[in-house]
């Protein structure tokens, strides 16, 4: 079974296709919260897709759960679905009750939050930066270290005034300055480190990038077959065919890398380097792929009216979130160099080999 050959992927694709018509995407871009869409996604049970079965999830494997995000990327779903799935996983594993509604996770983890304990009470201070849909969610989940151990923290942001900002796709990426006391029901030791969390977030973005690249490839091929210049469809010109072939190779690589990332989140833990490789590869594919798609689409693709930008602006945003290519490749390179030249190959074959 490939990542995208499963019933959950098909179901999610059909649902998102209904929810993500150009009008819906344009409305979301003006800052509106698509309430009806969220309700439909929630009714389908998708926000809980990563929650283990024994914690109340419906028992999808991580690979199947991540395929939902591949579909979300393909349709530019303007909701914090991946973030809510990720929060659900963290909370469930830590034994914290999962609140209803959308939950977000900051896509930047610097500077680190300050978690303190005094007189038996937990406090958390610092800033939650780049919180997807921060203004629309009531809860944010993060991982903070205390005495060198990671804790999952559940932060109620209800009523807090965020510092509002958007990424270039006009998806909300808000920040909060916090200094709060945490109830005992809002904190627990985490199975996942801060790096693990960053990696799972990166894995999530690789799915979305791969999905969006599949979409812009299909759109570009169709456009090249329909747009006529010099008396024939531009897709008949060899140079356009070659560009589209390059786009297709980038999309194929991004999808293979996203498969690798999805497989790297397992019951046994998170394989951060595998995900890092995937994020680097998908980030590069996003850059090259969106550039080719725009070149093919000419000036029409540069308008707000054409829907190409719903996908390309997301590609250009997602490559930077949860660690860009430099951040992850530095980590991978560090590990490779520490292993030494004669173990370089072993490091490569070890990736993905433990499963």
């Amino acid at each position: 079974m490939t990542q995208t050959e499963n019933p959950l992927f098909d179901m999610a694709g059909r649902l998102f296709s209904d929810l993500c018509q150009p009008k819906d995407l344009a409305d979301a871009g003006t800052g509106q919260w698509p309430d009806a869409a969220w309700s439909a996604v929630e009714a389908a049970g998708l926000p809980g897709a990563l929650i283990p079965e024994d914690a109340g999830g419906f028992g999808a494997s991580p690979v199947e759960a991540f395929s939902v995000l591949r579909a979300a990327g393909e349709h530019a779903l303007p909701l914090p679905l991946g973030e809510t799935m990720l929060a659900g996983l963290l909370l469930a594993k830590a034994g914290i009750a999962i609140p209803s509604g959308p939950i977000s996770v900051p896509s930047t983890d610097q500077p680190a939050l300050k978690l303190k304990r005094s007189d038996g009470r937990w406090t958390l201070a610092g800033s939650l930066r780049h919180v997807p849909w921060g203004r629309h969610v009531k809860t944010v989940v993060a991982v903070a270290d205390f005495e060198e151990r990671p804790y999952v923290v559940l932060i109620s942001t209800n009523g807090m005034a965020p510092d509002c900002a958007d990424n270039v796709a006009r998806e909300p990426r808000d920040s909060f300055t916090i200094d709060v006391a945490l109830k005992d029901s809002e904190i627990a030791l985490s199975e996942f480190s801060r790096l693990d969390l960053r990696a799972i977030g990166a894995a999530m973005r690789t799915q979305q990038i791969a999905g969006a690249l599949s979409r812009v490839t299909a759109m570009s091929v169709r456009y090249a077959q329909e747009r006529v210049q010099f008396g024939r469809p531009i897709g008949k010109f060899q140079t356009i065919q070659q560009s589209l072939a390059v786009l297709a190779t980038q999309t194929a690589a991004a999808n293979a890398a996203a498969d690798l990332a999805a497989e790297a989140v397992t019951e046994a833990g998170v394989e951060t380097l595998a995900i890092g490789c995937a994020k680097v590869r998908c980030g590069e594919a996003a850059s090259l792929g969106s550039a080719i798609a725009h070149q093919i689409h000419g000036a029409f693709g540069f308008t707000h009216e054409h829907s190409l930008h719903f996908y390309t602006r997301r590609l250009l945003s997602w490559r930077d979130e949860f660690g860009n290519e430099t951040e992850w490749s530095t980590r991978i390179g560090q590990a490779a160099i520490e292993g030494g030249p004669d173990r370089l190959w072993y490091g490569i074959t070890d990736i993905g080999a433990s499963r």
């Binding site: 090249a224 530095t330 560090q334 004669d342 993905g352």
Partner: protein, 381 residues
Amino acid sequence: MNRFPFAPPPRSPEAEELRREVRDFLKTELAGTTALQRAESWNGWSAEFSAKMGERGWIGMTWPKRYGGHERSALERYVVLEEMLAHGAPVSAHWIADRQSGPLLLRSGTEQQRLEILPRIAAGTCFVCIGLSEPDVGSDLASARTRAVSVDGGYRVNGTKIWTTNGHRSHYMVLFCRTGDGGERHQGLSQFLVDMKTPGVEVRPIIALTGEHHFNEVVFTDVFLPADSAIGKIGEGWQQVTSELANERSGPERFLSSFELLVEMVRSLGNSPSDHAKATVGRLGAHIVTLRRMSRSVAGMLQAGSDPTLQAAIVKDLGAVLEQEVPEIARLLLGAEPTSSSTTDFSAVLAYTTLHAPSFSLRGGAREILRGIIARGLGLR
């Protein structure tokens, strides 16, 4: 929808077990080789090494036992290939026969050809070269001019093949030539198994820009080929050669040609490289990891009997881009001058890889041709 899916490579515990065995073997066999020798890898010729691999059962691994094969999986074979390349083993002598000529005979050869040739290939003692290209026939293979005409008891061949890798040290050539006229461009083409010692076959060396002698011009003057040297059906050479090329295009040799340079680059960086150097190494690693997954996925497709033509073209195209990037990145990162006569591993390997790089996007199908195949897969042609 993802147009060209690469199914996850199947898990194979046997293959991983085999990997350890291959690594142990290579540790002994390659002890004392220089980095430059390792960089040659699938250009490196050693009949002795090939025979040792044959003894181990690592050539013709997936073929039926009755033809000297070992009936192992495509994934096990893949492990042997990638370990050989990553360690820089001299595999050139048997590589082509193992990769494409053997499988071609298995699919289309006569029973006699299979029984006679395949066990020798699998033993690592019989080497084969490929006669596709001609002086006037490169990418446009269907316009081959070398011609075999029917004569009493067989065929008489006249024409010239070129760029024939290892033509001067192979036992056989798989010759692709014209046997008929008219009709479609792709009709009237056939393949023959030619004993290189046949009278009238003349091999002339061609020296590559690197100064090496790997490829040749092979001239056929009134060469008589017995009727039973035809491979498959006369006139169906085109169909046969296209499936042969899918085998040729997807393997790990399509993204590991510059691997030794990456190893020497990491060695030269030492223990305290800059963040920029780390990121550079990490990025190349990410590309290799992804390509390796895609290439292993193609091995899985071969194992399952599905047609990987498009996926193979994608792997080869992306692989060549990466292989050609490595020397450019290495020279800028380390600021070393590539020196062909160098005794410093890094600059010698850099010189070697720099000079070979232009061939990466030509041999086995030029970049533009592969992209044309992908465009056809997209429905554009």
